[in-house]
């Protein structure tokens, strides 16, 4: 185990800005990519159900 304490760990031997700057941006971007994907999926689901409703309405109208 390299680190005596949490603050030592966070300090990263004076390179905190660079190390955490890398890791945090790395993590944030990956998470953001997934989040954007999930959002894309949700809007897609929304659009699909809308399309479906419209479709049903149309076929109903032509039938009557």
């Amino acid at each position: 185990m390299n680190w005596g304490s949490l603050s030592n760990f966070l300090h990263m031997g004076g390179y905190a800005l660079y190390v955490w700057g890398s890791y945090i941006v790395f993590g944030v971007f990956l998470v953001a990519e997934v989040a954007l994907l999930l959002k894309r999926r949700r809007t897609l689901a929304h659009r699909l159900s809308q399309m479906h409703r419209l479709h049903i309405k149309e076929s109903h109208e032509t039938a009557s």
């Binding site: 031997g13 390179y15 890398s22 941006v25 990519e33 994907l37 894309r40 999926r41 897609l44 699909l48």
Partner: protein, 249 residues
Amino acid sequence: MNFRDIAWFKYSSPASFYFLAGKMIPWFWAAAAVFAVAGLYIGFFVAPTDFQQGEAYRIIFIHVPAAWMSMFLYVVMAGWAGIGLAFNTRLSSMMATALAPTGALFTFLALWTGSLWGKPMWGTWWVWDARLTSELILLFLYIGFMSLQAAIDDPRRADRAGAVLALVGVVNVPIIYFSVKWWNTLHQGASISLMQAPTMAATMLTGMLVMALACWMYSIAVALMRVRCIIVERERHAQWVSEMRGQLK
């Protein structure tokens, strides 16, 4: 038994692939998580401090995997795109489209982490070194691919135009990569000095490899998720899509 009956090509239809991918995604996520935890543990708690670079070298555990992924993904993307162009298989083109943003992301991250590493080590955020420059060009290639596809409304045309570009671009990749030899290379020198501590090289290497595996798993999972979205978007008028509309949420 007839060869065709084995349904080798069954999963090359977007509909069946959609469901297959749905089943595979959780497994890749799990693998990505396991490898990431292991890799980070090795990186932060097993690997010792570097006697030259201090703790700053720990950026390596994300920098190198990101840099590797950026190059691999481009080649894989061009491969899928080429298959799509040659055999007119829609699914492979969709795979190519799905890979591009992830590839661009890893390219950006390699640049970002590299810059953050370069400031303490080289004293500057950016130099016009061959490695760095070629990575930047790779980013432009990804962006070109995505912009071209975004600029074309018809998805089939976008697929095929993108494929031509990706294939032409892949010729460029090794050229850029090997041009390292014609430049003075700050990047390479630094990495060699790092290798001088042999005990560390072993743990460092494992850490790097495990993190690289995590990135692989992540990329696959994300690409599969994105390709599922693309499939649904493109096939929104198909019967099977409207049937499984409820499962999307």
